[in-house]
């Protein structure tokens, strides 16, 4: 092994020691990306819906788990976000909502046009999850 190669490996190892361990997890599809902290994020299942019964069942199953802070950010367009049927602001003091781990239906719409909808499965390990919707993709 040459001297130059040894130096390169040593520099890479040193950099790795200095860099903080990442505390985020992500699942980024084409239009929607999910980011999370606390050791987990979640997964996005586009095009899925949840009936009222499924929502109630999911809520009952996870009622004793800790809340996860959920934010939904909309980029590249305007619209409003609905989490399990309820409006969630995308900015300001009320742009974060505590949700239980598990499945949550999310829809983003601009008036009569649905930009995207699907089910977000929030990881039990996550403490906070951010869903970023790229309306322009």
């Amino acid at each position: 092994m040459g001297t130059l190669k040894l130096l390169t490996i040593a520099a890479a190892a040193f950099s790795a020691l200095l860099a903080p361990a990442p505390d985020t997890d992500e699942d980024c599809g084409n239009e929607v990306c999910v980011y999370g902290t606390g050791g987990g994020a979640g997964t996005w299942k586009p095009g899925e819906r949840m009936s009222r019964g499924k929502r109630n069942k999911e809520a009952k199953a996870n009622r004793k788990r800790k809340d996860v802070a959920l934010n939904v950010v909309l980029e590249g367009g305007r619209g409003s976000v609905f989490v399990d049927g309820r409006y969630l602001a995308t900015s300001g003091d009320h742009a974060q909502r505590g949700v239980k781990p598990g499945r949550h239906e999310i829809e983003v719409r601009d008036a009569g046009q649905v930009i995207t909808f699907g089910v977000l499965v929030v990881s039990r390990k996550a403490t906070a999850v951010a869903l970023v919707v790229h309306a322009d993709r």
Partner: protein
């Protein structure tokens, strides 16, 4: 600590939402902007489209009276959120799948329509106010440029002797009218004289006396006309001569001149005056 999920507590009915709205509206500030901010905050917290619609209406009204385009755009943004929520809840599947129902489904559909119209109005209002501001700014800029141009432009100064020449011209015009009177008096007198000489006396003595009176009037007219003509022409010519001399003395670029001409014929006489001052 994250906000607790109200959905997990059993949802929200149109009746609950109406009671909450009543409370919120009762506590609103008098200041329209503060009221809009409070309604927006409550709307974002509760997800109630009626609160967004109310906030949008108040913001639009205040923007209209205060001519504030930013507030008009905020009204549009609020109305669009109300439209989004109304549109979402007017969907049968969405409405039946949620426990969060701040309005009935029928009201949600109506509200979406109202909010859409309000958003359009607010957008047009913002454009109208911006156009007004642009026009006012353009007018102010035009006025500024005009005042700058006027400040740069030298004030028009009367050339030396202009007053004298103008006064002389007026006097000449008066003199010309005097010449006219003189001519008329002479002509009338001559006519009367010719007629008097042709009369057969003493048969036409009365006519002779009448012609004598007319002749006297004609003579008076001629004397007055002659006096006015003499004074007018004399004073006028003197003033113009002095004025032109003064102007010539001021500099070679001055090109003022006066040209006077007169005429007489069997109908009378006249005086023409041409000048450049």
């Amino acid at each position: 600590m994250t906000p607790s999920a109200a959905l997990a507590k059993g949802g929200h009915s149109p009746e609950d939402a109406a009671a909450q709205r009543e409370q919120i509206e009762a506590g609103l500030a008098q200041d329209p902007r503060a009221a809009v901010a409070a309604l927006r905050d409550a709307g974002e917290e509760l997800g109630d489209p009626e609160l967004f619609l109310l906030a949008a209406t108040r913001a639009r009204d205040e923007a209209r009276s205060s001519r504030d385009p930013e507030l008009a755009l905020e009204a549009e943004s609020l109305a669009l959120v109300a439209q989004d929520i109304g549109s979402y809840l007017s969907d049968d599947d969405n409405y039946s799948a949620t426990d969060w129902r701040p309005v009935t489904r029928d009201r949600a559909a109506d509200l979406a329509g109202e909010a859409g119209s309000l958003a359009t109005q607010a957008h047009e209002l913002a454009e109208e106010i911006e156009a007004e501001r642009a026009a006012a700014a353009a007018a102010a800029e035009r006025a500024r440029l005009e005042s700058l141009a006027n400040a740069d432009k030298p004030k028009r100064e009367l050339k030396p002797g202009t007053g004298l020449i103008a006064g002389g011209s007026v006097a000449l015009a008066v003199g010309a009218s005097g010449i006219g009177l003189l001519g008329a008096g002479i002509a009338m007198g001559q006519a009367n004289q010719r007629e008097a000489e042709s009369l057969s006396l003493p048969a036409e003595l009365a006519r002779l006396e009448e012609l004598d009176r007319k002749g006297a009037t004609a003579n008076t007219l001629a004397y007055v006309g002659g006096a006015v003509a003499a004074v007018g022409v004399g004073v006028g010519v003197a003033l113009i001569v002095v004025g032109v001399k003064k102007r010539k003395a001021a500099g070679p670029q001055e090109q003022a001149h006066v040209h006077m001409s007169g005429w007489f014929d069997h109908n009378g006489g006249g005086l023409a005056l041409q000048g450049r001052f």
